[in-house]
Amino acid sequence: MDHFRLLSFGDHGWGDELLIGLGVTLALAICTLPFAIILSFLVHWAKVSRYRMLRSFGMLYTTVFKSLPEILTLLILYYQAQAIIGWLIQSVIPGAHFSISPFVAGMISLSLVISAYGSEVVRAALGAVGNGQFEAAQSLGLSPRIAFIKVILPQLWRHALPGFGNLWIILLKDTSLVSVIALSELTHVAGLAITTTRQPFVFYGLIAVIYVLLVTLSATAQKRLERRVNLGFTRTET
């Protein structure tokens, strides 16, 4: 059938380009996730800090990045960063050109948005671990750093798993937005394929199926992991 020729690998088919696009999608998501998680912790700590300025900053941060559409955040970040860095470089090396990689712009803007939601995952997970654990560590003389690494964190990630698992899925889908600033991830490649082949249904249908598969795989893996991790934890008497 004609359609299979379209999707084949090699010169006539778009199969290999789509595969590379899928790779870019996954690379973007995988690179963004650790940043987003670390930022989530930082934003949470800002929101519970004893400095008023940090608390206000944390609140402002989450309000802004939860209220603005992701695509607007992406465009503002992309063009503004371009403008600022371009201006900085111009003042040092006049006439030089510089453009931000859309991959980096996508990574940063997605991290910012995801961490706004992630900070609440952190808050809930810390609440589930409970203050008593930290107090016990304190009264035994453990420094806050050791207490966090050895006592809180091992208990925390079990509670944070569902929340961050869902954010991962959101991240996977949001990578498609970066196609708007011409990153050659899956959606963008499909768009390119369509301009020459004029078969939008085939290609968009295909990538829709691919995304659904990715999401379903992630969700299943998450559920399995949750089940395994919660296996040893039965409710003890309090």
């Binding site: 008593g132 009264s139 003389g141 420094s143 050895k150 006592v151 208990q155 003890t236």
Partner: protein, 247 residues
Amino acid sequence: MVSPPAISFEKLNKYYGKFHVLKDIDLEVAKGERIVVCGPSGSGKSTLIRCINRLETHQSGRLIVDQCEMNNTPSTVRRIRDRVGMCFQHFNLYPHLTALENCTLSLIYTRKMPPKEAKQRAMEYLARVRMDGFAQKYPSQLSGGQQQRVAIARSLCIQPEVMLFDEPTSALDPESISEVLDVMADLAIGGMTMICVTHEMGFARKVADRVVFMDAGEIVEIADPETFFTSPSHERSARFLQQIINH
């Protein structure tokens, strides 16, 4: 020769915002003394002992622990915490570590003790609370009473000068209460300075040197157990005793 007090409160005051939760607390605890703090809920008794290891901060007055005055400097706080052990109502054992690991964590990471030595000391104290057979068990595999005994061993491992107990048996079912109280009585016999917030009046009568009765943030009466339980000098103390004895 009179040795300096283990703990000394001088006109200590604490506020939660506008709420005056500890009012002009004056109390001296001698070395080796066993104090039971009791009172109605909200009287500030937990807050009082939590000030001793800086889980709560005081706003005015002085708190001196083992001749070291408590203040905001991290090194002072750490030095005092090194000498004070605490047992919590909800045990607060680390659920992801075994009983043995619970005990050795602080020794290895704060005292920088070599793991072998830490393990040895931990097993000694676990044996003292009769939990050495359970060293490899996780908290979820232990009953409440067993968990609390491990928690006591965990605090003893750092070899404190003072042991604080914040309602250690309030979250236990009746069978477990006595096993924990027995361990605490053993400790008392061994000469440990202890401050215990508890409702267990039988324990207070048997073990305490002095009973401190608190109400609404102030110390109302301090007396030895016999006097306190049979002829309290204040009306509020009498009322409190009436309520808990008529149970």
